[in-house]
């Protein structure tokens, strides 16, 4: 099975995969890269109104063959009532 390296960035921490993992083919590597995005988001959201989660797949030659991102974009559409809403939130911009 070929080896793939899946790098990821959760908006704070960049993880460069030096060890790599064996997958059946490119499609399997893509599946596992995408599968990580919801887990990364679950660990960090809600934490502000903007965040971008990125994964990318490198092949054995070191070439990026696939990348994907998941973007959070939040913002008030009208002035919020009260300050004590649940969870950490940014003040209205």
């Amino acid at each position: 099975m070929p080896r793939y390296f899946i790098d990821s960035f959760d908006g704070d921490t960049c993880f460069i995969d030096n060890e790599g993992m064996d997958f059946a083919d490119d499609a399997a590597a893509r599946y596992h890269a995408l599968d990580a995005l919801p887990d990364m988001a679950r660990d960090e959201v809600p934490d502000g109104d903007r965040r971008r989660f990125v994964v990318s797949v490198r092949d054995q030659a070191g070439e990026v063959i696939y990348s994907a991102s998941l973007t959070l974009e939040g913002g008030w559409r009208s002035a919020p009532n009260g300050l004590a809403r649940s969870g950490p939130q940014s003040p209205p911009g």
């Binding site: 993880f15 993992m21 890269a33 990580a36 990364m40 660990d43």
Partner: protein
């Protein structure tokens, strides 16, 4: 060391086990069987006439979904009676597989029944072991449902260390846990790549090392704090039961 030593150690950590009770356990008739990694110790929907005690290696309870995804719902270590359930359930609602090379002792239900009748206190200790299994399941549900990936991962490592330590299989903050990252992902209910990320975080925080199948906890208190780990649920206190 007798075959039942890990079980006796696990029970003796929670209450006094008398010499007579020890003899009753050691004299239980048993059928010993070895399993390769991935083989089933107990099959789903079967109606076992014996209960199975892990003697060496690791076993897991697993649930497969129709799409092929798997959740490992429990990890069992030497000394765990993995299907004491079947004693009362009669029909198994899940399967138990070898998570590593594994050796198990199968004890006929009729002999367990006899021992429990002869020594009710021993019966309560075996009951306690299934109650602790339930406590571990609660801790896992809380981890899967609510904890961050790092806290969940750290929680698992703290738990495994203390459980293995209780049966004499972990010392000086080090233990063997021969699982693949895929299996780890199925234990934690996380994606393979995120498990990798999380492991890397715990390593770079200086909390653990993981080489081959050897895990060393470099800072137990730090790991326990990060994971919000409270060992009470493991009942590692000797008191009258």
């Amino acid at each position: 060391v007798t075959d039942f030593e890990p079980l006796i150690k696990a029970l003796a950590r929670r209450d006094e086990v008398s010499a007579a009770e020890r003899r009753l356990i050691e004299n239980l008739p048993k059928r010993i069987k070895s399993f390769r990694k991935g083989e089933e110790l107990v099959q789903e929907h079967s109606r076992p006439a014996e209960s199975c005690l892990v003697m060496h290696g690791f076993a897991a309870r697993e649930v497969y979904l129709r799409d092929g995804k798997r959740q490992i719902t429990a990890v069992h270590i030497p000394g765990d009676f993995v299907d004491l359930h079947a004693f009362l359930l009669k029909q198994m609602d899940h399967s138990v597989v070898a998570l590593s090379e594994c050796q198990a002792a199968f004890v006929p239900h009729q002999d367990l029944l006899r021992v429990v009748d002869e020594a009710p206190h021993l019966g309560r200790l075996l009951w306690l072991s299934t109650v602790i299994d339930g406590a571990i399941q609660r801790a896992w549900i809380a981890c899967i449902g609510r904890r961050s990936s790092t806290a969940h991962f750290g929680h698992l490592i703290c738990e495994l260390y203390l459980r293995l330590n209780a049966v004499g299989l972990a010392e000086k903050s080090t233990f063997q846990f021969p699982v693949t990252q895929e299996e780890l992902a199925d234990i934690l209910g996380l994606s393979l790549v995120h498990v990798n990320r999380t492991l890397r975080e715990l390593r770079s925080a200086g909390l653990i090392t993981w080489k081959g199948s050897t895990i060393e906890i470099l800072d137990f208190d730090g790991l326990a704090t990060l994971s919000d780990f409270d060992p009470s649920y493991l009942n590692l206190v000797s008191e009258p039961r």
